[in-house]
């Protein structure tokens, strides 16, 4: 059998180098995309996961407020905790490190601890500390970092930035610049691993000063004396905890973040899988061609005694070989693409979900064994399934058939009408599936509907191609002279081949449709966001700290900076807004705090409900302590006006009535907004209004925003790092974020199309090769070289044009599901459907141009056959 495989399959693969290469490349591209997305997804969350793990140390349980920080004096009411374990209070936060060039800015995670109480929880190993030991005693550690500006940085960070013990470096916290001094260097172990070394250790007092949260703590890390009784202890602690505090395991925190991002990752994975589907089409395609072209040989093989099983196995072996080589190449390629994907994915994740994603470690870009296993485990079985049909067909070839030489090109027949039934069932399923709700916020059924729609359409492709060719043949009579005959011939040829090339055309249709669908969704989304921005921006200047564009980092504006803004003669009113994370069920939402009075007087929101919301309604909501929720919150949790939301406050969970649902496309985590007075009364540990994370300035009548902005920036100077946007520049900024978020989706589409185009190229090439006798005959009958060239190029163009036409139709249908089902289920916001006509026209031209080019090579080959035929004739 191995010898037979080597002679019968390997040799033929070698002879068909071109086709084998294209198939392998197609699979490789598909696998590469899937692997790259896996690496990207993993990378974007990995840095957060390692940060959570390495900072947690030996923590068994963490006690936090459901949202924000809590009053440190609560510690005195938790003395009983000492009986259960060691308690280490923590103040945490993030600062931005600005490199010397002023261009690079890196996020640093800051951990503020009481070194005297932290020992049981975390170990710190220092470089150049002591000859005898690298782990300082609690007291030594405390004395290292006891100064308010003292930090212990990681060895890695210091090396990267040329810093040494004793050096000071500037960081930005909110809008303030602070100098920190390195007192020690942490080895790459334990907490030093956090964010790939972007980690600073401080004394808890220094951290409270740095983050302006004196009197408050982020959490208590508890290491139980008896680790085995974790669940028991958790229950016991939960029962005794003062209201407003919760107890959980360090993993729980990661789990909530993971859930928040799950839908985003799932969508990327689903999009990536399309390229794998294209690869599978290619396997089917390649094998079908092999089997069809080698019918005589197969018959011969059968005649000399090969069994049906042996025959089928030979072709399955061929598929296996192609798949393994393709997947192997794909893994290598995926590793390279992975770097790009990590960057692109983390940008998106960082923008919308977690700041920690910004520091994707280099380690996270490497290929893990799970990626390898996943790629092979998925591709090989699917590759075999794709090859099953052709392999079975090969096994059914009778020895007689081969000798007679019949049935070789049984292609003139019209494609089977069974396709209609298959497509009908598939479309019916699609319409049913789109009605199913999401599974845990993941649009599983929506994607299944896309798949059935896609399969239904693919089944129809040969039939539609056949009909289109008929139409073309009729229309060809009106072509200009010199094109008429090649036109008619091209149509007839394609029609004859429609069943056989149907599969590769379907692959092209599918990838074009995906591109169209994604383009449509993005265009619709962009239209919606632009529309929404135009409606809601009423302030003249928008302000936020320069620290991060992450929506979660709780960066704050300092009171001094706010005072500078408020004292400007042209500023008439300031609306401030602050956000923080709040626990909601088993996930996280955003708790926003705005000034409802300013909103009533000046602001604009686009309300989804109620239908009419007057200024008085807003004031009433403020007075009654009611909340506004974003549309994504409403869709995600099924809440609307009049319902109640239960939110964690320092005095325990409280219910709030929903006054309105507003459209918000700035994040999809779901936002609940309360008035700042309500916030100060119920959410703030110290009764203070929160420091704002952003502000909107309303200028005096007639003031020029650009002039005011320049003046304000000058007055803020170097000490306050704020970004000021006028309405116009905000729009540009939003679109910049928008585009960077979707960059990865476009990249994926292009790759999928590249794979599909290769498939078509291979098919065309095969068709031409297969018809070389026929083409030679055409030459004998007097067809000129240019006629033959035109015929082949027209065939290619026809394939491209038909694919694009079908792609657009299918793409629109898929976009409808993406926009109205998948998008709503995974991101919880409604998008206005807007087809990007210009893009569609543009892509059509491009696809047709590409097909013409794709036809040129086979055309050149065809004219060579003719010469050969001529020679033979002589």
């Amino acid at each position: 059998m191995p010898r037979l495989f080597s002679r019968f399959i390997l040799r033929s693969l070698w002879h068909q180098k071109g086709r084998s290469t294209i198939t392998v490349l197609g699979i490789a591209l598909g696998v590469a995309v899937v692997v790259a997305i896996r690496i990207g997804n993993h990378g974007s969350i990995e840095s957060f996961k390692t940060a959570t793990e390495s900072i947690a140390g030996a923590t068994s349980l963490q006690i936090t407020a459901g949202s924000g920080r809590f009053d440190e004096l609560l510690l005195n009411e938790l003395g009983w905790l000492d009986g259960l374990g060691n308690v280490s209070p923590v103040v945490e936060g993030q600062v931005l490190f600005e490199g010397h060039d002023g261009e690079t800015a890196e996020l640093l995670q800051v951990l503020g601890i009481d070194a005297l109480r932290d020992r049981p929880v975390r170990s710190y190993y220092l470089l150049e500390f002591d000859d005898r030991r690298r782990e300082p005693t609690p007291r030594q550690l405390l004395e290292l970092i006891v100064d308010l500006d003292a930090v212990i940085a990681t060895e890695k960070f210091a090396r990267q930035h040329g810093l040494a013990i004793g050096d000071s470096f500037p960081v930005v916290v909110g809008d303030r610049r602070r100098e920190l001094t390195i007192k020690g260097l942490l080895l790459d172990e334990g907490p030093g691993r956090t964010l790939d070394g972007n980690f600073l250790l401080m004394d808890i007092a220094g951290a409270q000063e740095l983050f302006a949260c004196i009197g408050q703590l982020d959490r208590l890390d508890v290491r139980l004396h008896d680790e085995d009784s974790l669940e028991e202890a958790k229950g016991a602690i939960a029962e005794r905890l003062v209201p407003g505090l919760i107890v959980e395991q360090p993993d729980d925190r990661f789990g909530r973040v993971d859930r928040m991002i799950a839908a985003f990752h799932f969508n990327l994975n689903a999009l990536g899988s399309v390229s794998l589907i294209v690869g599978l089409f290619l396997i089917y395609n390649s094998l079908t061609i092999s089997v069809t072209m080698r019918r005589e040989e197969i018959g011969m093989l059968r005649a000399v005694g090969a069994s049906r099983v042996q025959t089928a196995s030979l072709f399955l072996g061929q598929a296996l070989l192609l798949t393994i080589v393709g997947a192997g190449l794909g893994l290598l390629l995926g590793r390279i693409l992975g770097e790009v994907a990590v960057r692109a994915t983390t940008v998106a994740v960082e923008t919308f979900y977690i700041a920690e994603a910004a520091v994707a470690s280099t380690a996270s870009q490497s290929l893990r064994w799970s990626d390898v296993g996943w790629a092979l485990g998925l591709t090989i079985p699917l590759g075999l399934v794709a090859a099953l049909g052709p392999a079975l067909e090969a096994s059914r070839v009778s020895p007689l058939e081969a000798i007679r030489g019949t049935g070789r090109l049984a292609s003139a027949r019209r494609p089977s009408r069974w396709a209609l039934v298959v497509a009908g069932v598939a479309f019916l399923l699609t319409t049913v599936l789109v009605r199913f709700p999401s599974v845990d916020g993941i649009p599983v059924w929506g994607y299944t509907a896309e798949l059935t729609l896609l399969l239904g359409a693919a089944a129809l492709v040969p039939l539609i191609l056949w009909s289109l060719c008929r139409l073309w043949e009729v229309g060809a009579s009106s072509l200009p002279r010199g094109w008429r005959v090649p036109g008619k011939l091209a149509g007839a040829n394609l029609r004859d081949a429609s069943t056989r090339i149907g599969v590769s055309v379907a692959a092209l249709v599918v990838s074009l449709a995906m591109m169209v669908a994604v383009a449509l969704m993005i265009a619709s989304f962009r239209f919606t966001v632009t529309y929404w921005l135009d409606r809601i921006i009423s302030a003249d200047i928008m302000v936020r700290p320069a620290t991060l564009n992450s929506s979660i980092a709780e960066s704050q504006m300092s009171p001094e900076a706010l005072a500078i803004l408020a004292s400007d003669p042209d500023v008439e009113a300031i609306d401030t807004f602050s956000t923080r994370q709040a626990r909601f069920g088993d996930t996280l939402v955003t708790l926003g705090c705005g000034d409802f009075q300013v909103l009533a007087a000046k602001g604009r929101l686009l309300y989804a409900a109620p239908a009419r919301m007057t200024s008085d309604d807003v004031r009433r909501a403020a007075r009654d302590g009611e909340v506004f929720i974003s549309e994504s919150f409403s869709l995600r949790f099924g809440k609307t006006v009049g319902d109640e939301v239960r939110l964690p406050t320092p005095s325990g969970e409280r219910a709030f009535r929903i006054a309105a649902v507003y459209y918000d496309y700035s994040n999809n985590r779901g936002t609940v907004v309360v008035d700042r007075r309500t916030f100060a009364r119920l959410f703030s540990p110290d009764g203070q209004e929160p420091s704002p994370a952003s502000a909107a300035l309303y200028l005096r009548e007639g003031a020029d925003p650009e002039t005011t902005r320049t003046r304000l920036l000058k007055r803020l100077g170097e000490n306050h790092r704020l970004l000021l946007f006028t309405q116009a520049s905000l729009r540009t900024e939003v679109m910049r974020i928008f585009n960077s978020t979707f960059a990865i989706t476009y990249g994926l589409q292009i790759i999928a199309i590249a794979a599909a185009v290769m498939g078509v190229l291979g098919t065309l090439y095969t068709i031409v090769h297969e018809r070389r006798r026929e083409i030679g005959l055409l030459g004998v009958m007097g067809a000129t070289r240019s006629q033959i060239r035109r015929m082949i190029v027209l065939e290619a163009t026809l394939v491209g044009g038909a694919s694009q036409l079908l792609g657009i139709l299918l793409g629109i249908a898929m976009a409808v599901i993406l926009v109205f089902v998948i998008n709503v289920q995974s991101f919880h916001w409604t998008i206005q459907f807007r087809p990007p006509w210009f893009f569609l026209a543009q892509s059509t031209v491009l696809v047709i141009l590409a097909s013409v080019l794709a036809g040129l090579y086979p055309a050149a080959r065809a004219t060579r056959f003719r010469s050969a035929a001529e020679l033979r004739e002589e």
């Binding site: 005693t137 405390l142 004395e143 308010l148 808890i204 007092a205």
Partner: protein, 375 residues
Amino acid sequence: MCWLAMMVMLLGAEEATSYQPTYNDEGWREAMPGYSFSFPRDHASHPDCRIEWWYYTGNLVSENGRRFGYQLTFFRTGITLEPKSASRWAVRDLYMTHFAISDGSARRHHVHERLNRAGVGMAGAATKHYRVWNEGWQVSLRGNTHHLVAEAEGDAIDLELTPLKSPALHGRDGISQKGAKAGNASHYYSLTRMETKGTVTVDGVTHRVRGLSWMDHEFGTSFLEKEQIGWDWLSIQLDNDWELMLYQFRRSDGSSDPRTSGTLVDPEGEATPLGAGDFTMSPGETWTSSASGARYPVSWKLSIPEQKAQLEVRAIFPQQEMRTPLSTDVTYWEGAIDVSGTFGGASAGGSGYLEMTGYSGRPLGDSFSSDGRVQ
């Protein structure tokens, strides 16, 4: 009469200003002669001094005759006189506490330690009244009675100590000179005989106990000097109602230190200072700690010719080494002792506590020298 009252007040003011405190570079008050003690005010904390400790030891016997020694010492070390932050976590002082029980019958030594900053009130030393605490461990004053509580991992004490004599001031004006430099000294007094009752818990088993305790309170800013590698200190309560405190410094060159001194307290509570030439302390048999490798003399011969006193001191058992990696990070020997011999020509016996530092690792002086920071 009015002018007389004025005169008295002025006189009082005059008296008070005759003590001229001195301060070191960082602003901490140094221990200088002239300070006048007042009790119970001076039991409480002296936050203007950098270093302060409250030290309780005692020999106790349970109702069924079981022998215990205990030690509970609260240290306060100033880090920054005036922290720059309003944060409660800003470190002004560090509070270290050592707690040990010597179980004489089982010959087992139970050691526990605590180290904290004040934070949200985890540790502290009050100034207006006498209360010093570190997590749940605490000493406080009720009337004339000192109340001690400490508990850790199944070991605990809950004791009430009532002084039978007034405070004995050591040295001149209660100044215990530790180094050649004037400020290298401490304000030092002791309650040398305190009637003690309460409970001692060892490995979860509680015993009702009675006995005698000794309290030391020292405060100052810098104590030791570089050449002083350690000291041997002991407190003795004799059955004849006399008490004795002796300490000698060991210098790195092996020579005797002129600051070696002691105090003798008679049955009426009258304290007499002893100079280096007034007594001798000579080490006897030794015990080597397998944990630290240090070799400690666990028996001593004492001689005070003036009092016709020849006393032999012996540890109730040798294994009373204190290793404190989490708090002071020093290793020393501190344990209960039995005393026998002659005093004033008559045979005498008693008990007490012996402390030996500087036999292993970093000398205790590092923590209490003029620069208290760990290198």
